[in-house]
Amino acid sequence: MAGKIHHMIEEIVNKRAKGNATLMITTKTKLMLKGINPEAFDESTPDDPAVIEKLAGIAHDLGVVVA
């Protein structure tokens, strides 16, 4: 399976930023500084359980609920 990480990143950024362009940039930067580079994942990136788990934790820290 592939693409779940990319979708999780998009969901975290969109829900935290709520459409604000500045917050989209700062949220992506926060993700990168937390060790998840948004530019490193796309629809074809294989699902990595460790990264998915890390993203779930990041979502919790950022107060965002992801599917």
Binding site: L23, I25, T26, T29, K30, G35, A40, G63
Partner: protein, 368 residues
Amino acid sequence: MSIYVAQSSKMSVPAAVDEIRQKLGRSDGALLLFFASSSYEPVAISSAFQAAFPHTPTMGCSTSGEIVSGHLSKNSVVAMLIGPDLIEDVCIEVAEDLSAGHSLAAPVQAFERHFGRPVADLDFDHYVGLILVDGLSGAEERLMDELGNATDVAFVGGSAGDDLKFSATHVYANGQAHTNAAVLAVLKPKGPFSIIKTQSFTVLPQTLTATEVDQAHRLVLSFDGQPAVQAYSGALGVPAEAAASQFMVHPMGLVLDAEPFVRSPRAVQDDALAFYCNITEGMQLHLLQSTDIVADTRKAIEDRQAALGRFRGLINFHCILRTLELEQSGRVDDYARVFEDIPTIGFSTYGEQYLGHVNQTSTMLAFV
């Protein structure tokens, strides 16, 4: 009233603070910010400033060099008095005992009591944070991560220095001096403000991924499965023995949308690389190539002023590594002149903060 800045090189605390107060020409404001060489006794300098400005919130820290409009100096103290016409409200809190790993819950709750709402609800266009951290604490990443989780208000700041002694740094708040601590402030400016992050590097195509790290000690043991020193020097095409000589010119960086967040190597430890910041396992870093600090800084400021208008004041958290590079190249005065027409104070830091902890960068808060 707006913003007034002053500097004193007098060696005694009472004489220095008195000279600052005389030069500022007033003893009341919305916020007094000061940066003082570690040659000033910490408890004395903080209490003296609060005594001289009894009705004004004060905050500051020790430095590895000071900046005031048009001048970089050492063994001095600089101060900025910001008037109530620029700052409507300010709350200063201290996070103590950083080495114990305590969360920022207490200062965050204090901010929430002061401003009457959760920090998550503070509008980042109307509030801004300042942070000054004990530069020897190693706590900067944890603090910025917690702040970034709690709020979208941007915090900008620097790690306190001690004139390259690496012995003890101090942060100051409302007359007190603290070590192993951070001073946090949330400001509500009355007008526009802007944060500038400027670093003078181009991003090189070579990347290295940290595969084994000792986060607590800011060590990378291996990149891409190879001993870190060998991997770094190999990527640069130099012998491993020459690795340390490349650090200033070729640090590394996390890169997002072509913008680097610099991670500076500090030392070779056996086959590992020690950094001035945390590298987590799996982080992919680009090698960077240094460019012109003076030209890049001037352009960053000119571009922002062109977009927003003339700055009424500027606070510059300027990495000590940049100061050393400017000293080595004889360009300290050129850099200082970038700020000669802007009421500016700043200091040479042991690290800079904006969204996270970075190195070899200037992070700045501009009041427009």
